[in-house]
Symmetry: C2
């Protein structure tokens, strides 16, 4: 299988200054696979839901080529639920409810079909679960990318370090990079993370774009400036999904292609925030992404010959 | 005269996590003119200092072609003094001392030599003083650019609006743009500012670069990623000085050239923060700026043909 993603498939209830939802489908694994499905048809997901999870969503995912053999459905149990409220500036949010439910004792089972997976995306989850998946695969994938968050730095530092040591690409946001390294400048933070194991480091900066580090090289990727940011939930996961989906499709791990993958991630993430939940992402075509990349190219282009 | 700048010439005492200075030379007017002097030899400054201001600094400024006929020296009075401390993250700071001194009753006098000025840069100062300079010039310059800060939004809103209505370019940072417009996304903020008068809007985002807006067009400029940010004081003024200096030199107000000017500003500002006060800026040559622009070009370059 070309790409396998591990990550939560969940319910979210979101409140932003622009509106409020009941329980809608969310979760890192959902956003990642929906984004990567724009590029890869041969992919699977390892996750767990309760019997309350809508068959309709699973149907939609399958229609996009996402194999669900690795998605456990726990009879008589409930799907992971998160509820949060974004503040007026949309840059910060508070968690109102977290119900782990089926995620509390999640033991990832890897279908045999996934054993030869070439690209592995570890969505934000307990570093123990992330590592278990790596260990249970009979052979190491060509590329392992990983997302994480400050929560795991607070409660599972040692486990997190062990997992980070095993991956090729770490994708985190700027605050998390600072917390992880105690360094202020992102250049220094990236150097420290490199020493922890990953060869490629991607630091997401939300509306400010993203940075890619590899060896001594840096790539500064823009974000698409939006008139409206409706719901930032899942933007980071969508970025990761676009990134790894493009890599899995092109199967080229050069720095030049990694740069393209970051641009693809940035472009797709800019769609995701335009509506609540996965709605906008579900409607996004490869042509939409191409057009946004063209716009990104235009708005960042400059030429100076000499002063 | 090609370029005239209005702005404070001052003393700063700065504390950062990396060190601490006694009174050193600072001020928006100082940073702006030192930066623009890399491009323009025919320029003057309108400001005021006390008799405690060092002759040595004025000599350095004159050596760089900065005409000081508009710099009033008040006998028996003291130069404006600001003292502040940056927090560990270097993104926020607290003001410890503000002594207005000579700035309290600053009445800008415009030497006849400056009357035909083509480019006017209004550094961050009371909007009344900024407007007085525009009104006292016998003819309107070809381009007026203006910086301001949240303080004037809090204490002099109506005066600020009157001054903003008169300028071609407003240069402010992202938080200030949000405060000025009550809009969260910078695209919307820029639209509102356009309605206030300025045709060009530049929103500075510190380590995240800057945005330039003109008509329906946007330019996303990167910041140079630095290993060390030693002292951010004056970075915004240095940006403005590089921007307006490059424009004044090239005398081309097309959007394409404005983009170049923003890149020049971004490149020069990245030097300014590498040492305390104006020290690094004083050592920066046009070749240094050229080299950094080349690096900016490299680290932002990407090419995707199709997905």
């Amino acid at each position: 299988m070309r790409l396998v993603t591990v990550g939560s498939v969940a319910f979210d209830a979101i409140e932003t200054p622009f509106g409020k939802t009941d329980k809608i489908v969310g979760g890192a694994g959902t956003f990642i696979t929906l984004a990567s499905s724009i590029f890869v048809k041969d992919q699977g997901i390892i996750s767990v839901v309760g019997e309350d999870f809508p068959e309709q969503t699973m149907k939609e995912m399958r229609k996009r080529g996402i194999n669900l053999d690795g998605l456990q459905i726990k009879k008589g149990e409930k799907t992971f639920f998160w509820s949060g409220k974004y503040h007026d500036d949309m840059n910060s949010r508070e968690t109102k409810v977290t119900e782990l439910n089926v995620l509390e004792h999640f033991d990832p089972v890897i279908p045999q079909k996934y054993w030869d997976c070439e690209y592995l995306m570890l969505g934000n989850l307990s570093p123990v679960v992330q590592r278990t998946v790596i260990e249970r695969l009979p052979k190491r994938p060509k590329l392992i990318a990983m997302d994480t968050m400050n929560f795991w730095m607070d409660v599972a530092w040692d486990e997190l370090m062990k997992t980070i040591a095993l991956v090729d690409v770490l994708i985190i946001n700027d605050d998390e990079a600072r917390q992880l390294t105690k360094e202020y400048t992102l250049l220094k933070a990236a150097s420290r993370i490199k020493a922890m194991g990953p060869k490629f480091i991607i630091i997401k900066k939300g509306e400010h774009g993203a940075l890619l580090f590899y060896g001594g090289r840096v790539f500064v990727a823009p974000a698409f400036p939006l008139e409206e940011v409706f719901d930032p939930t899942g933007a980071g996961d969508t970025f990761a999904g676009g990134f790894v989906g493009y890599l899995a499709k092109t199967d080229d791990l050069s720095f030049e292609n990694m740069k393209r993958a970051v641009i693809v991630g940035s472009a797709i993430a800019s769609f995701s925030v335009e509506k609540f939940g996965t709605q906008r992402l579900m409607e996004t075509s490869i042509e939409d992404v191409e057009q946004r990349i063209e716009e990104l190219n235009t708005i960042t282009d400059f030429e100076i010959n000499n002063l």
